[in-house]
Symmetry: C2
DNA sequence: ACGGGCATGTAAGCGGTTACATGATTCG
DNA sequence: CGAATCATGTAACCGCTTACATGCCCGT
């Protein structure tokens, strides 16, 4: 169900085509909630049938621009304020950590170093986004403030993961 | 595919029944990789056909105890050392943060406080696990060391999330 | 005797991915 | 003119959840 609300959330900012929504999922939301384009087109058609979105107009190349309806806005607000929160933090990368004892030390060392590099890159990326928003590059709307908060979670989570992987490397070296 | 490797990982420690594996997923691995019992039984039967696991013996109540085969161990090691890492950190809770601007301030305040309480509880839980392991309550095997590392990721991630939610509360109050 | 936990499964259906398919437009 | 990008979809398949179904064993 989260995909639906993700789409409604994006449409609550401004009308958009399925293609544009797909891009935004790939570039922005996809980090915490991936969605492929067939899934998005299917969901939009379904939501159209339920009256949560409407086609505002059609453009070149068969483009369909969707708007959120009052019913859609109500559904989004209901979910945000009163929908039960699923706290699962699904991560394949962390699943692996339960089985580090099954790797030979050299492979584990290599793995942890690659993870540290990856996490560090993510931290740097989100810090750049955060700084851009703090400078006001993207305006000072309530929407930008939301994105600023979301980006902050990225900075903090990936910093924590990077430090964790470094700690894990040290832990192995003087206890294993 | 991750479920399969999760099962192989658990079986690499010691033989277990589908029921026991299911319990372990619910209690331990489920935080980062949830799996329901029908999914686990289906996967085990599939892996049996592929020769990755074997039935060691059957016990009371139709119990089937599975062992990992050499082919299964090889598949697990291959995945751990050379399988491409999927870095997606899927989180419904974080998806919501992108749309905080769509909530009314009182609902958002309540939501953030509930999230802070939830994250704080998780931090406390994992710190207790970590302390138990550091005291040696679960022995000092390589396996325990792996679990200690996994638990540490929980402590750090949920600490980061808790501090993030607190920061978000303050951010809203003096910028919104 | 019976209730709860042990133990394994099947079936229907939804969520999600990958591959396939098509065509318009823009840019070099 | 050709390649990349815009733009929308269908179909097959797999992963996963929920509900249903069955029966044994243990403790009270």
């Amino acid at each position: 169900m989260s995909l639906r609300y993700g789409l409604l959330g994006l449409l609550s900012e401004k009308p958009a085509s399925g293609y544009a929504l797909s891009q935004q999922f790939q570039d922005v939301l996809g980090v915490v909630w991936p969605a492929s384009h067939p899934q998005i087109y299917t969901a939009l058609n379904h939501m159209l049938g339920e009256g949560l979105v409407e086609i505002q107009h059609t453009g070149a190349r068969g483009k369909k621009v969707y708007t959120i309806t009052p019913a859609g806005t109500a559904a989004l607000r209901q979910w945000l304020a009163h929908g039960p929160v699923d706290h699962t933090l699904r991560s394949e990368s962390l699943l692996r950590s339960f089985f580090f004892d099954q790797m030979d030390p050299a492979d584990l060392e290599r793995h942890l170093e690659a993870e540290i590099a990856f996490f560090a890159e993510r931290v740097a990326l989100y810090k750049r986004y955060a700084e851009a928003k703090d400078r006001g590059d993207h305006g000072r709307s309530a929407r930008t403030a939301s994105l600023r908060i979301a980006v902050e979670s990225g900075v903090r989570l990936y910093t924590a993961l990077q430090e964790w992987a470094q700690w894990a490397k040290r832990y192995r070296n003087h206890s294993g």
